[in-house]
């Protein structure tokens, strides 16, 4: 039995008087693609930010790779952080760097790679996200929305992470680009054996990517199971979110696109 890649135990999050999470428990084994869904304001992105340590929960414990997130020496914590990559909703590319330097940045920060090794690794990452070498010279301001997401994904993958966190990976992309991006994530997940945690509103994306769906409602994880079983759950949120005619069509479209 191996430890789950991500393990949340009794997470409580309070902002002032608002209770966002009240006892969230979730374990994500290696190799799974888990989608967090929930109504708006249910704290999906907050939970994602707590997993990567950008926010600290009021109570409860986050464990990554079998160890508490904030345990160990500073160097150990840095090493732990390098084992996951995060794709932010707006890309969060460094606007002062061009695409090449954006992807090279985390590699150079290791301080032990030669310029050639960095160059080759960046070129491979660019090829992985289906961009051309000449895109490496562009500045983030000169990229389209879809390309920003691709570059951000390449940067998230730069350190060969085992865990990938995606915050609304397809928000702001047209359906065509969105389907292409989902295919890309899926292919990379299979190729690199990644564990993926994502937050999305997009049912196409959800159906195409997730091996499991975690429903966040009533301030806790209602269930974490395969999509087929989640749809059968008897809960008003699930009813509204999954069982309308439009959502069924969207999910069918998502499954078709892969």
């Amino acid at each position: 039995m191996t430890a789950p890649v991500v393990e949340l135990a009794g997470i409580v999050t309070r902002f002032g008087k608002t209770v966002v999470h009240d006892g969230v428990d979730l374990a994500i084994p290696a190799g799974e693609v888990v989608t967090l869904v929930g109504g708006s304001g249910s704290g999906k992105t907050t939970l994602l930010r707590e997993i990567v340590g950008l926010l600290t929960p009021t109570a409860g414990e986050v464990r990554l790779f079998g160890e508490p997130l904030h345990s160990g020496s500073r160097a150990e914590q840095v090493r732990r952080r390098r084992r996951f990559g995060m794709l932010f909703q707006q890309g969060a590319l460094f606007s002062a760097f061009d695409v090449f330097d954006n992807i090279a940045f985390p590699l150079r920060e290791l301080r032990c790679l030669t310029a050639d090794e960095v160059h080759d690794a960046v070129m491979l990452k660019l090829a992985m996200v289906e961009l051309q070498p000449e895109h490496g010279l562009r500045m983030p301001a000169e990229l389209s929305g879809g390309m920003i997401k691709r570059v951000a994904l390449a940067r998230a993958l730069a350190l060969e992470p085992e865990l990938l966190l995606l915050d609304e990976p397809t928000a702001g992309l047209d359906p065509d680009r969105s389907a292409a991006f989902v295919r890309l994530i899926r292919a990379l997940q299979a190729q690199l054996g990644l564990t993926v945690v994502l937050v999305t509103h997009d049912l196409d994306t959800l159906a195409a990517l997730s091996s499991r769906v975690a429903v966040l409602a009533e301030r806790r994880i209602l269930a974490c199971d395969t999509l087929d079983r989640i749809i059968e759950l008897d809960h008003p949120f699930v009813e509204r979110f999954f069982r309308t005619e439009t959502s069924r069509r969207a999910m069918a479209r998502g499954l078709e696109s892969i």
Binding site: T2, A121, A127, G136, A141
Partner: protein, 372 residues
Amino acid sequence: MVAPDSLSMPEVSVAQGVVVLRGDWTLRALSPQLARMRRVLEQSRSVASWDLGGVSRLDNFGAQLLWRHWRQTRPGQLRAAPELLRVIDAAEALGNAALPAPPRHWLAPVHALGDPLLALVSHIVELLRLVGQLGIDLAYLCVRPQLWPLREFSANLFKTGVRAMPVTALVGFLIGVVLSYLSALQLKAFGADIFIVNILGLGIIRELGPVLVSVLVAGRSGSAMTAQLGVMRVTEEIDALATMGISRHVRLVLPKVMALAVAMPLLVLWASGVAILGGMVSARLQLGIGFGFFLQTLPTVVPIANLYIAIAKGAVFGVVIALVACHFGLRVKPNTESLSANTTASVVSAITAVILMDAVFAIATRHIGVPL
């Protein structure tokens, strides 16, 4: 399935003409001992037979490391599990993809000389355009007085004027004390104690007050204005204003210029007053000149014209600082580098412009308010 936290060290050994690799060949496992691994691999360069059977994990970085070591050709004999071969295939498929060299033009030296010059010209043209646009807007506002951005003017007046009072007072007071102290040392030597009033009065009211306040306001409010307009450009707020049919010049630039045109003369008076107070305190301690005597003598040795010059300077410097700050703010491009570069340029240019204007004032008013 390997436990996610287990990590086996990469190893290289050569046995009977075959290079045997073991352990994890991943970035995480390799990076602590990359220099050593490079050296070890280097020793087995000529071997054509490789056994990767013992490799538990191979990521893209590890594959590329081997691929580079193999000089971009597959070794004669390679034994590896199919999933490892796939990773090596990916490294092979990349081929010699390289970042295209940034285009270098043979006219580059000419560009290096000409671009800053053209940039300077474009700055001047744009600044003139900004002033012209403000003039047109002012004329338009005179026809339609209900469009005056009075709330923004008031908010800016508070931010740039009232909020700047403590810092200008503090700096003014200390400069007054220092100036008075240093002058007193010299004047005492010549027995010319009484001239401390002339030095402080003329120096602070005519020159030091306006310039000092300008430097503080350029650093304090000028940079804030540039950064605010810059961020509004980055977040497309200025474009949003334009789509609502609201002129950015009327709503954003004009209130700032008006506010500084009003706030600066007042700040100059305030700071000069406090600086003279500081000077008086120091003069009394050093030279024993009483407050009453100081205040009585001041109007007789410093003609009132100097005060008018100071107020005029304050207003002009205020307009210059606001215009320069807005000009640079509107030039910010949507990236962090441009924001910081323009904010820096704004403060530096504003202070330089103020000192230039001060020189112009000095020449233009050389016959006014100086007792002969």
